[in-house]
């Protein structure tokens, strides 16, 4: 990291002044894109202007059919927001699919869209829902905002203050994750609004997020997965990289848009018993459970429930199958060594 001046203004007005007077100032929000860039010495700003001290940029409001999310609101706040969950559950779910808990508690919506990574998730939601980006000086529609790879309509010294989402009648986000980074390889945001259906695809396009008019028309006429079954998306403007060919991305767009939404599947091991208290079947009385999302599962999001049996068994692997011969007896040494577990005589 090269040296820079650090500033933490308390108001939007001060932030604007700081940004305009800096030689080569950069806004710092969650830092989850910017800081790694600085650490790798790929950027050399003169000043970092930290937005985290500006209360007016943070928070979620719901009024008159619009959800307004402040620019420095974290992904975690959006996921957990009751206002978002009840009005646009697909948006809450999308925010919950970004990165991991650390990323979600640092990363912000403003930082994500200002950066406009072609594989980021939020651009899909903004374009899919027809959101409006509010800056310190104007309002920009999502259709006008995202211009290409890492490119937006923002001026050099413009600051995003909030994003306004109109509440749709129905919406769904399906993400097929890039296996290494887990950004979207193909993310499809489908929203049914008063003005028709919008379909936005992120992750796949050479120019970043884009809409699919043929699918929108078909779904506006018939809001059912069958409506798009005959539509193939051309792969000519899609990305090819080590993780996916353009062809595969084009195919996945159909699969993701055609998804019928979420299912929650609970898969508890059947007929198995806790290795500690040998109570069959699981769950034993002392068991604890952990729910984890399995995000790369294609058409559906699956949850894996891992049972942690009672006491002393920190590993879910100790969920062992029924052993007819009772608990294994650990080895004694020295002596006749009835080894742990049941020995099989050699020869």
């Amino acid at each position: 990291m090269y040296d820079f001046e650090y500033q933490r203004p308390a108001s939007l007005a001060d932030a604007i002044t700081a940004l305009k007077s800096a030689e080569d100032g950069k806004l710092l929000a969650g830092g989850h894109t910017l800081i790694p860039t600085l650490k790798q010495r790929l950027a050399r700003p003169s000043d970092l202007i930290d937005l985290s001290g500006i209360a007016e940029l943070r928070g979620i409001k719901s009024e008159g059919g619009t959800i307004t999310v402040g620019a420095t609101t974290s992904h975690a706040e959006v996921t957990e927001s009751d206002a978002v969950k009840s009005a646009i559950p697909a948006l809450a779910e999308l925010a919950g699919m970004i990165g991991d808990p650390q990323v979600r508690h640092c990363g912000t919506i403003g930082g994500s869209i200002a950066n406009n990574d072609p594989a980021a998730d939020y651009p899909g939601a903004l374009l899919g829902l027809g959101a409006t980006i509010v800056t310190d000086s104007r309002e920009i529609t999502a259709d006008d905002f995202f211009l290409g790879l890492f490119e937006t309509a923002l001026e050099e010294t413009e600051i995003i203050t909030a994003v306004k989402f109109p509440v749709p009648q129905a919406a769904n986000y399906q993400k097929f994750a890039q296996p290494a980074s887990r950004f979207s390889l193909v993310g499809a945001f489908v929203a049914k609004t008063g003005g028709g259906v919008r379909v936005a695809i992120t992750g796949a396009g050479q120019e970043g997020v884009f809409r699919v008019p043929e699918m929108e028309a078909a779904l506006s006429a018939n809001f059912s997965p069958d409506a798009i079954s005959g539509i193939t998306v051309s792969d000519s403007n899609l990305n090819t990289d080590i993780h996916a060919s353009a062809e595969y991305r084009a195919h996945l767009i159909g699969v993701m848009v055609g998804s019928r939404g979420y299912r929650l599947r609970v898969s508890l091991p059947k007929g198995r018993q806790c290795a500690s208290c040998r109570q069959a079947p699981l769950p034993c009385s002392g068991a604890t459970f952990q729910r984890s999302r399995v995000p790369v599962a294609g058409r559906r999001v699956r949850y894996r429930i891992t049972a942690y049996p009672c006491q002393d068994s920190p590993f879910s692997v100790s969920v062992r199958p029924n052993a007819p011969d009772g608990p294994p007896t650990p080895a004694r040494f020295p002596g006749s060594r009835p080894a742990f577990p049941q020995p099989v005589p050699a020869g």
Partner: protein
């Protein structure tokens, strides 16, 4: 069972300090007046160094010293070595091109280091390194092992024709040819064992330190084998005589083999500490780790299996091209030869085996041992072949294996490829794995999956490995430059607690717990009164370190021998004090008792008497410390069967592992919880190789998968919760009966997983799929098969 003895799932002693942030990792260490090193690295895969201009870097703020390969040469610092000599088909030694710690004439892979800048702060060292200007003349690069020997390929080293390090063979070629000419069926496969990046959670790091008064040098480093590092740095790199050099490997956050080797950076930091007369510290960034930690695997193999009409294996023929990368890493040569071809018999009685291996240089990061080292590659060859043969002949995969397995009463069993298996019961593990995996219910599960539009497959991997590395005479005869015994020492303190010293090294394995369990059981000393010390050449006597699942089998056995000596000496002391004959003293549960009486002394009291020898046997040395060295009688041969069951979404190609069963024979199990952790971790590693991980270079030798954004590590939700079972035949080759468990998962899982994926896709016409079998690749295979049908 005692609460803390053998067989108890004792919680790991070391975890409290790790989990509470109180571990002592290298980057946490701050030495007085320490400086920071930053290496100047090649951005090119292959280039001539026309000149290195350090002048503007030299005057940059905070820069203390800049050194290049010329400075190392001038000081007589020897090049990095490869410690295992291979004799090729023609009786010639393998080609060992020079490997200077800092490149002088040419750079040969992206990340190859050619200068070091030492400065007051890390940022100043980086600034300085950016100012070093290198005049490169780019040269063409060779990247893929299969192209390396082409006449048209550029030479990585001008003095190595055809980029061929060695062309080596093992087995009886004529007998194997004969077996093939009698075969009723021959199955052949072409497979690639994908290149992996080790990715230990803690990157490599080093601090070199020089004490001007004593002229002693100390190297703090992330090593799996500090004594071997000291030996090599002294004897080969000539940095300091062994007695003037101390190597300390504190808490080390994982290695998977990558921290066995003696690398350039550690060597340079140590040497430079004397030059600048201050401690020199370096910690690899994750990007440096991707570029410079020795990678693993990277084999291209053609293999054929000959069978008779009853499905009996008659012969196995294997040709492998193994990528060595740009230089030979410390043990690179033995991995695709003696750690690979010697295991090609697998669990089977194949009477004739012939394998030849061409080890080649390419303009990529050096390749060396990685978890399993050679044995995962061997298992993958055999188990993919057997599975394919079963499919082709219509014999059930389990049945074909069973027909060919070494029988439980056939031990010791001499394979046609050097190894003599000492014990085992392979059929038992197969049966148990099929029982746990509910193999009989598979057909119903497959049908049910089909009703949901999913493709289900099941795959076996019946693996064997050679662990407990290794009998010194045996490895010496095969070219090793070292013996592979292990040392252990038990020191009683006067107050009766115990400090145990081992030459093996724990970097995640839990030795502080398992070794304390062994001693607690053996000597009857409470577990909490035992501390295990490792990783410091000034504290521990010479030892060989940890790799090849050897620590319990070899290091643990040394401690058992030392404990036996403690008991013998204690018996003398107790007999004297209890006024009995030595023969009448019995030892059990920590007490020396006069047989048939209630006269007894606890071992703690004996220790006190040994240090305060007022009433003491004449002629016996005071003190209670014993040292032992154990050189194993044979390798140990862990073996077992893993069964993987997958479900594939044909729409996306996404694979889900729905069941994973591992039944292993590890011999005696010391701590079931730790062993289960090793199995789970090993399977994660193997599943990672099968479905996720793959190190890619582009055609110019640029590393495409140079960060976690593109190199796909398996994550918790990719990792199956393994159903673990054991069958146990204690090893006769060491006094504990242990076999080793650290690598089994990584060895067995790739074949089990790919066999399951191929099984799911077989009926669609997909008969092989390359690792990593990503969703993308599976989808493409399905499409290609449909188009061909």
């Amino acid at each position: 069972m005692s609460e803390h003895g053998m067989g108890a799932s004792v919680r790991r002693k070391e975890d409290y300090r790790f989990l509470t942030g109180n571990g002592h990792y290298l980057d946490d260490m701050v030495r007085p007046r320490q400086t920071f090193a930053c290496f100047v690295r090649s951005p090119h895969a292959h280039a001539k160094i026309r000149g290195i201009d350090t002048s503007s870097a030299a005057s940059a703020p905070g820069v203390i010293g800049i050194f290049t390969g010329k400075d190392l040469e001038a000081d007589g610092v020897g090049p990095l070595i490869c410690g295992w000599g291979i004799t090729d088909k023609n009786g010639e030694p393998h080609k060992a091109p020079a490997h200077p710690a800092l490149a002088t004439d040419e750079v040969r892979h992206v990340g190859d280091q050619l200068a070091v800048v030492i400065a007051e702060t890390l940022e100043q060292a980086r600034d300085g390194a950016e100012l070093v200007s290198v005049d490169y003349e780019e040269l063409p690069a060779v990247v893929l092992p299969k192209n390396a020997m082409d006449a048209s390929s550029p030479l990585v080293h001008a003095d190595v024709p055809n980029n061929l390090c060695y062309d080596w063979e093992l087995g009886d070629k004529a007998a194997t040819e004969a077996a093939f000419s009698n075969a009723a069926h021959v199955t052949s496969i072409d497979i690639v064992n994908n290149r992996l990046v080790p990715n230990a959670i803690e990157p490599r790091a080093a601090i070199g330190e020089y004490d001007a008064g004593s002229e002693n040098l100390t190297l703090y480093t992330t090593s799996q084998n500090p004594h071997v590092a000291r030996l090599v740095l002294s004897a080969f790199n000539g940095i300091a005589p062994e007695h003037k050099l101390r190597v300390i490997a504190p808490d080390v956050g994982g290695g998977f083999g990558s921290k066995i080797f003696i690398y350039a950076e550690e060597t340079v930091c140590l040497w430079a500490a004397r030059k600048v007369r201050r401690p020199v510290k370096w910690t690899a960034s994750r990007s440096e780790a991707f570029q410079t930690d020795a990678h693993g695997r990277d084999h291209v193999t053609h293999a054929e299996l000959a069978m008779d009409a009853d499905g009996k294996f008659l012969g196995l023929r294997v040709n492998t091209i193994a990528n060595m990368g740009a230089y030979l890493s410390t043990f690179a040569t033995c991995v695709p030869s003696y750690l690979y071809a010697t295991l090609l018999a697998g669990q089977y009685t194949t009477p004739a085996i012939y394998c030849d291996v061409q080890a080649v240089f390419t303009n990529t990061t050096p390749v060396d041992a990685l978890r399993g080292a050679g044995r995962p590659e061997a298992t993958y060859v055999i188990e993919r072949l057997v599975e394919t043969a079963a499919k082709e002949t219509g014999v059930a995969p389990s049945e074909l294996r069973r027909r060919n397995m070494v029988a439980a009463d056939a031990y010791p069993y001499q394979t046609p490829v050097i190894m003599q298996y000492d014990c085992g019961n392979y059929g038992a593990s197969l049966d148990e794995a099929m029982r746990i995996a509910d193999h009989t219910g598979f057909a119903a599960r497959k049908a049910e999956a089909q009703s949901r539009g999913k493709l289900r497959g099941i795959g076996f991997s019946a693996y064997i490995e050679a662990c407990g590395i290794a009998p010194s005479a045996a490895v010496g005869s095969l070219g090793a430059g070292v013996g592979l015994w292990e040392a252990g020492q038990i020191r009683f303190n006067p107050t009766g607690n115990v400090t145990v010293f081992t030459g093996s090294h724990s970097h995640g394995q839990g030795h502080e717990t398992t070794f304390a369990q062994i001693i607690s059981e053996r000597l009857g000393v409470p577990f909490e009164n035992i501390d295990v010390v490792h990783g410091d050449t000034d504290k521990v006597m010479f030892g060989m370190g940890t790799y090849g699942s050897r620590s319990a089998a070899v290091g643990g056995s040394a401690l058992v021998k030392a404990a036996d000596k403690i008991i013998e000496k204690g018996r003398k002391i107790a007999a004297h004090i209890l006024e009995a004959s030595e023969d009448d003293i019995e030892f059990a549960n920590g007490n020396f008792t006069v047989a048939g009486t209630d006269k007894a002394m606890n071992i703690g009291e004996v220790a006190f008497a040994a240090y305060v020898p007022h009433n003491y046997p004449e002629g016996l040395e005071p003190g209670l410390n014993e040292t032992a060295v154990y050189d194993p009688l044979n390798f140990s041969f862990p073996a077992g069967t893993h069964i993987c069951e997958v479900e594939i979404d044909p729409d996306t190609g996404a694979v889900e592992i729905v069941n994973y069963t591992a039944v292993d024979d590890f011999g005696t199990v010391i701590n079931p919880m730790i062993v289960a952790g090793q199995v789970q971790g090993g399977v994660a590693h193997g599943v990672g190789q099968a479905l996720h991980e793959g190190c890619n270079y582009d055609e110019n030798g640029q590393l495409i998968t140079g960060s976690f954004m593109d190199y796909s590590m398996p994550r918790a939700d990719n990792t199956p919760s393994v159903d673990i079972g054991y069958t146990s035949v204690p090893s006769p080759s060491n006094p504990l009966g242990v076999k080793g468990c650290g690598e089994a998962g990584a060895i067995a899982a790739p074949a089990a997983t790919i066999n399951a994926v191929v099984d799911a896709l077989w009926d669609l016409g997909v008969h092989d799929i390359a690792m990593p079998a990503t969703a993308h690749k599976i989808w493409q295979s399905i499409r290609a098969a449909k188009a061909a049908a």
